[in-house]
Amino acid sequence: MRLLDQLHFNGQLFLRHRVRTVLLLLAVGLGVASVIMLTSLGEGARRYVDREFSALGNQLLIVLPGRKETTGGAPPIYGAAPRDLTLEDAQALERLPAIRAVAPVIAGTAPVTRGSRSREVIVLGSTAAIFQVRKMDVAQGKILPERADSEALAVCVLGSKLKQELFGNRRAIGEWVRAGDRRMRVIGVLEERGESLGLDLRDMIIVPVRTAEQMFNSPGLFRVLLELDANADFDRVEERVRGVIRERHEGEDDVTLISQDSMLAAFNNILTTLTLAIAAIAAISLLVAGILIMNISLISVSQRRREIGLLKALGGSSRQVRQLFLGESLLLVSLGSVAGVAVAWVAVLVVARLWPAFPLAPPWWSVPAAVGTALLSGLVFSLIPARRAAALDPVLAMRGQDL
């Protein structure tokens, strides 16, 4: 029997049993589409994190106070520090070679008030270097002055949302606001950039690090961000940083260093595993579709007993009958898969348009994996019905008797 003839034969069957065919197509299509769409979500999350990190530049080394004794595992975000990491430590690091910029950070929250309007926001105490290291810039006004690392200047830079909340559309540069118990002059407004690593840059205030030190009455830094030279050797820089800290901390290098790469790798690992797990869960729907195909094929075999007997009487062999039934399932699964891929593709496009900040995209393996699983499940689950059809006794089958 020719392939084209078989396709035609199966096609006529599908047209004849439209409801049955549409239901099966739906089952397979939904399965395939859900695998692709769910893995797209996982992959989207991975890309999102990836993008967030690369927005910071990949030459970033973060120094946290305190040290975790267990190595490996997820990088610690906070550490309990026996000795504070101080502004003086950060200034000492500035003298190391291969380090382009050092941005000490003190973080806390404080109410920011202007007139009757008040808003509780994150206060970031840092120096002019923070703008370079975190790739931020101002839309209006100026960034923190160079002196911000040594003097408690009464100036601040506002996030765009905070500015909007306090000033509306009026000019903020040169105006005074109150942050905590201190009055300071607005010298700049950050450009709109959305979130960065979970920190809403639009809704915060940046003040000189000395000012923050006084506001929160603490000499300890939250962390120090180091930007390295473009071709710097991370391991060597890390060794030197530890050396400087050891010198200044009575022989203890009680800091934790996190490189951009190690953090990114950790996130990548987590999100890839997550995506695979999601794919496996979605694949269960394909298994269900396979079982549905088996059920319906078995019903089809018993409904078409006469036809099967006839095909055999007309010179069809058991192998041909088996092929017809297997071919029917595979064709159905193929059509369903095509529909599913199309639906998923459209859905991903629509979501990408509605929500452009999230880079939703199917990973390269999701389409072959989804279609492959669907085909395999269709094949495996139609083996039993096909074998049963092939084994039918044509004489009894044509009399329409039961076995």
């Binding site: 029997m1 020719r2 084209l4 006529q12 055999k312 009487a313 007309l314 058991s318």
Partner: protein, 234 residues
């Protein structure tokens, strides 16, 4: 040439065995016209399926055109069936979703013959049974007599040597039955071996060779299947 030697066949009906064929010996030459009659359960349908290679003997041998069929595998038997045997059933067994032409083409499609060639062959045999103008109709648009003639066209489209008809007029009225019998006898006149299984004594008597079966055995075998037409006992 059909040769059955000491063929036995036993079916299990529920718990008890039923011997459908008991030491059957029969030789049928090319071009014969014979009928097989007998009460229900006498084994005449089993004989027909045996000859048509749909069934295998438990013991004994069956040679078709010199080939010992009992040694063949399922694939080879299917091929032999496709090349030598055409079946006609009481219930027609046409596939409703296919057109008349597609139904007739079905054996050629299973045999893997190219669409162009089989379309021509199918149109030729439809012409032969007088239904060329119904090629595009579906079975539910045809009368019983027409359906059986389509089934005959399907049975002969592969140009078989043997035509096996199981109660070919059983579901038809007198007039349509007569039409169908005429088509079959015409084919026999052109050289095809025609074996008709029937309850209908009128139809049975038309055959030149008449076999009567009782309890799986051939009770009587009268007439000469190849005697010239007209010499039949009418």
């Amino acid at each position: 040439m059909i040769e059955l030697q000491d063929v036995n066949k036993t079916y299990l009906v529920g718990e008890s065995p039923l011997q459908a064929l008991r030491d059957v010996n029969i030789t049928i030459d090319a071009g014969e016209y014979l009928s097989v009659m007998g009460p229900s359960g006498s084994g005449k349908s089993t004989l027909l399926n045996m000859v048509g290679l749909l069934d295998r003997p438990d013991s004994g041998s069956y040679r078709l055109e010199g080939t010992a069929t009992e040694e063949l595998g399922e694939e080879a038997r299917a091929r032999l069936r496709a090349d030598y045997v055409g079946f006609i059933f009481q219930a027609f067994h046409l596939i409703n979703r296919l057109t008349t032409l597609e139904n007739v083409e079905l054996p050629m499609m299973l045999a893997g013959i190219a669409p162009k060639k089989r379309r021509q062959s199918a149109l030729d045999v439809l012409e032969q049974v007088g239904l060329a103008d119904r090629a595009g109709h579906r079975p539910n648009q045809l009368s019983g007599g027409q359906l059986q003639r389509v089934a005959i066209a399907r049975a002969i489209v592969m140009r078989p040597r043997i035509l096996l008809a199981d109660e070919p007029t059983g579901n038809l009225d007198q007039a349509s039955g007569a039409e169908v019998v005429e088509v079959l006898e015409n084919l026999n006149r052109e050289g095809i071996t025609l074996l008709v299984v029937t309850h209908d004594a009128q139809l049975g008597k038309r055959a030149r060779r008449r076999i009567r079966m009782v309890d799986g055995q051939i009770e009587s075998d009268t007439g000469d299947g190849n005697a010239p037409a007209g010499s039949t006992a009418l």
